[in-house]
């Protein structure tokens, strides 16, 4: 982990945003303490949070939206929302729960905006046609899984991605999605089964 002096010295441009006193006041330990510093408008703390979580959020949005530009835009919006609500932040749960609750809300809004069409059944021809353009085996499988992800509802894919990417517990996922743990387990199981079946069918 980077020490505070190293972090401060490695970001000269950023430090122009704050005075020396602000630097001394920044206590960088875990995410919740960082949020307290963000509430005091400490830019170093905000940068630390962004560096820590940007890739995780981006991967989540990338797999959910299958569009890198949209994923980047949503990642940015999550951090802006985090910054705006930092003063009201109450460290009741894990920071990841808080962060991915915001992320999921934004994702739902985005999907509504795009008026995503849930495609129930993809024909073999369509799959074959899309996959034919890909080069190697792994790319082919990823393409198949990408298509399979489009077939499942948002809550299935979100639960599965939070489980696999963030390794969150069922309880944490249930808190984020505001449903029971058993429902989360069911969704994850169904999502996995669907992806597996789609992949096996393609391999035959």
């Amino acid at each position: 982990m980077q020490s505070i002096p190293n972090l401060l010295s490695s970001h000269g441009a950023l430090l122009e945003m704050s005075g020396n006193q602000d630097r001394a006041n920044c206590i960088l330990s875990d995410d919740q303490l960082l949020m307290k510093e963000v509430a005091k408008q400490c830019p170093v703390a905000m940068e630390k949070l962004i560096t820590r979580w940007k890739d995780g959020l981006f991967r989540f949005f990338d797999r959910s939206l299958r569009n890198k530009a949209d994923a980047e835009d949503l990642t940015q919006r999550v951090f802006i929302r985090v910054y705006q609500s930092a003063s009201r932040y109450q460290p009741k749960a894990k920071f990841s729960t808080y962060l991915f609750t915001i992320a999921r809300n934004l994702l739902i809004d985005e999907l509504k905006k795009k008026n995503r069409q849930q495609i129930s059944i993809y024909s073999d021809e369509l799959i074959q046609g899309q996959v034919a353009q890909t080069r190697n085996e792994v790319e082919e499988w990823n393409e198949i899984l990408d298509i399979a992800m489009r077939e499942i509802p948002e809550h299935y894919s979100t639960a599965l991605l939070l489980r696999v990417q963030r390794e969150l517990s069922y309880k944490e996922i249930a808190d984020i999605m505001k449903v029971s743990e058993s429902r989360v387990k069911t969704w994850i199981h169904r999502a996995r089964t669907h992806l597996k079946q789609t992949l096996l069918e393609y391999r035959k």
Binding site: A13, L14, M46, R59, D62, A71, Y83, D146, Q165, K196
Partner: protein
Amino acid sequence: MKDKNGPEQVIEDFLSNESASLSEEFTESLLVDIKKLNSENKSTNRGVSYFIPFVSFGVVFCALFFFTPLFDLEVTVDEKDDIALESNSLPSYLHEPEKIIIEDLMAIPQELNVSESFLSEQTYDLLVLLDS
């Protein structure tokens, strides 16, 4: 050990999406955006504080405007009392029913808020004659 090409492992690798990442420029541009947002908020707050004296003055003005009709009401009550006093000083040669009619007639302009009133004694006499 899981098969590298087994469906479970392929799915895990796909979902993990480990290869996807954002560049350092993302962080820098985002911090610039946040800085802009911060300065915009500050200027908005400054704008709000600039308007506070005007808003306070407006509130006081509205409060005064709201309470003004109450004073008018009090004046109206006083005027009514004056009319009542006037009605008591009606000519003594009039009978009680006639006095009541005159009092009622005197009250009409007050209720309709009409400035005209039957003030002259000859008018009272005329009305009494008409009524009889």
